[in-house]
């Protein structure tokens, strides 16, 4: 008998002695269940407005927010790359919205920060948050209470412009003002 044959027989015996016995099955990872699209929670109903006594105006009142010629029709603030500094050109816009909020105490606003596609998702989320917060801070200077403003970030997850050039990136480095 060749040494190879001996080896083979020995290993075969070893296998029968150890491995061949029906091995206890390891636990299989639990199956992943498919889940249908979750139903988003409904937005909480706004608090009922306080009753204000109003003198009938001579002319019908126009909410400046719905006036397309008003500065309030502009709802986006744009930023430089990697920056959250408010450019001077956007200060009047933010302050106008701030004054509107001061004058319309029932209104609440959400400021949504966005970033261009370059860089990490979580870091961009934080950068977008900072862009939203920069707008909030300026509104607070005008006298808007912090409790009426929510700032959130979409990071680079919801780009408005889909291109991959500076034009698209500039459009996406943005805070949007959303009245609620």
């Amino acid at each position: 008998m060749s040494s190879m044959r001996v080896l083979f027989v020995v290993s075969a015996v070893a296998l029968i002695a150890t491995g061949c016995a029906s091995t206890k099955l390891e636990e299989k990872p639990a199956p992943v269940v498919e889940q249908s699209k979750p139903t988003p929670a409904p937005a909480p109903a706004p608090a009922p407005p306080p009753v204000a006594k109003v003198e009938a105006p001579v002319q019908p009142m126009v909410d400046a927010l719905n006036d397309p010629s008003s500065v309030l029709a502009k709802r986006s603030v744009y930023f430089d790359f990697d920056k959250s500094l408010i450019r001077t050109e956007f200060q009047p816009l933010i302050e106008a919205h701030g004054r509107y909020l001061v004058e319309h105490s029932v209104r609440q606003i959400r400021i949504e920060g966005n970033c261009d596609e370059r860089g990490g998702r979580e870091y961009n989320l934080a950068l977008g948050q900072r862009r939203a917060d920069a707008v909030r801070e300026r509104m607070e200077l005008v006298g808007v209470q912090a409790v009426r403003i929510e700032t959130i970030s979409f990071g680079k997850e919801k780009p408005k412009a889909l291109g991959h050039d500076e034009t698209a990136w500039a459009e996406n480095r943005r805070s949007d003002l959303v009245y609620r």
Partner: protein, 433 residues
């Protein structure tokens, strides 16, 4: 099964396309992934994996799955085993296999049992020492044949390299099919057997595994703002655990699985907090006006690594979990984000922007040596394999989001692409418990 293995002598110079036909054979799947190996390790074990002898109808090509697993690691060089199957109970001339260039040989068989399950056996031979290194038998249903092949590959890998194999582990990632179609999927480590855990019209980011592999935490925008969820994979049960005013993001499980580090903006800017995995007891960990995000626990739980721009540019820091001063970890370049630690705590991986290129760097913390480990330039979200040998990350090639693998020495590389959609945000799960 298409057989695309090159002759051994040509192996290094060829880019191999490994079509995972076995995936196609396994029935409808959310994503039939393709693995393309683009780089191999400096030291490779020459191994031959003979086709398994089959009895009855066997729906998986075990040898092909084992070969693909070992190849993907970059640590093995496949020696052509020819077309004929070799069972574990056949006599083999190991010297002849050695002469063909294979230092080791895997043989085996799969037999259909009367109850519908399969008997799978394999042996691993050392052709140089003329000895058997391993041999085992399994009984598994058809649905677990792939898993069994991965487990055999894990045993072969561990016998020959000394490290635990990661082929039987799972990965999570996000696919964007359209601007209103996102899926959080879980797949085998080779991208096969993909299953959808969550489908949403809004983005999903930052999935991360609980240490026991049962839960995923992630950020979902389904309520039109970032909210952190914890999701039980087996049942699909999920709950919002961080849904405070502002943004909620960047979850990371503590090593004991009982807490999450998250980033909340409820107190003004992005700060790191600890919460229970049920969302209870938010406790603030960072206090400053800078961005603090992407928290991550060291394996021993002693440290929280994170990204902060407190020094003027985003860099990786760490702070003691018990409290204390943060310490800066990265110094090259002005943009280092998305820290990940190897399981032994020795290596720190992160994404660095240099000359407008985003690449994964691996820093040997003890030696202070940094190495760029990828050949792609839009890298995101590195994730260590549980054995610390490979990094899985997201990148973009040809305008499409794909996943890629790189060994921590930067030599072995592979790309994993899906049939459609942009794949991103990979997270490598733990060893099966």
């Amino acid at each position: 099964m298409p057989k695309t293995w090159a002759r051994p002598t040509l192996f290094r110079s060829l880019v191999l396309l490994v079509a995972l036909a076995a995936v196609l054979a396994s029935g409808p799947s959310a994503a039939q992934m393709t693995v393309e190996i683009t780089g191999v390790g400096s030291q490779q074990y020459p191994i031959a994996v003979a086709s398994f002898k089959t009895e009855g109808s066997v729906p998986q090509d075990m040898a092909a799955i084992i070969r693909a697993d070992l190849s993907r690691s970059g640590q093995f060089r496949m020696v052509d085993a020819g077309d004929s199957a070799l069972a574990e109970n056949e006599r083999v001339d190991l010297a002849q296999w050695r002469a063909r260039g294979a230092d080791t040989l895997v043989v085996g068989s799969v037999s259909a049992l009367a109850d519908g399950r399969f008997d799978i056996r394999f042996r691993l031979y050392d052709n140089v020492k003329n000895t058997q290194l391993d041999g085992l038998a399994y009984v598994a249903p058809a649905a677990e044949l792939r898993l069994t092949a991965h487990r055999i590959a894990d045993r072969v890998y561990e016998k020959l390299t000394g490290d635990k194999g990661v082929f039987a582990t799972r990965i999570a990632y996000v696919v964007e099919f359209s601007r209103t179609g996102y899926e959080l999927q879980v797949a085998d480590a080779d991208g096969a057997n993909a299953q959808t855990a969550l489908r949403s019209r809004e983005p999903i980011i930052s999935p991360t595994w609980s240490p026991d592999g049962m839960l995923l935490a992630y950020v979902s925008f389904e309520s039109h703002k970032p909210v952190v969820y914890v999701h039980t994979l087996a049942t699909g049960q999920r709950r919002a655990v961080a849904n405070f005013k502002g943004s909620n993001s960047a979850p990371a499980f503590s090593p004991d699985g009982k807490s999450l580090a998250v980033v909340l903006t409820k107190d003004g800017n992005s700060e790191i907090y600890m919460i229970g995995i049920d969302g209870s007891n938010a406790r603030r960990m960072t206090f400053n006006n800078a961005i603090d995000t992407e928290p991550l626990f060291s394996a021993d739980g002693a440290w929280i690594y994170f990204t902060s721009d407190r020094g003027g540019s985003p860099q990786i820091y760490r702070m003691p979990t018990a409290g204390g001063d943060a310490q800066r970890m990265t110094f090259n370049g002005d943009y280092n984000i998305s820290p990940r630690l190897s399981p032994d705590g020795r290596l720190l991986a992160y994404v660095s922007r240099r000359n407008d290129l985003f690449q994964v760097e691996v820093l040997d913390i003890g030696l202070g040596q940094e190495l760029t480990v990828t050949d792609t330039v839009k890298d995101e979200a590195p994730s260590f394999a549980p054995n610390g040998r490979l990094l899985l990350y997201a990148t973009e090639v040809g305008g499409r989001g794909i996943l890629a693998l790189a060994s921590t020495d930067g030599r072995a590389r592979a790309r994993i692409t899906g049939p459609n959609g942009d794949i991103r945000e990979p997270s490598w799960g733990p060893f099966a418990k």
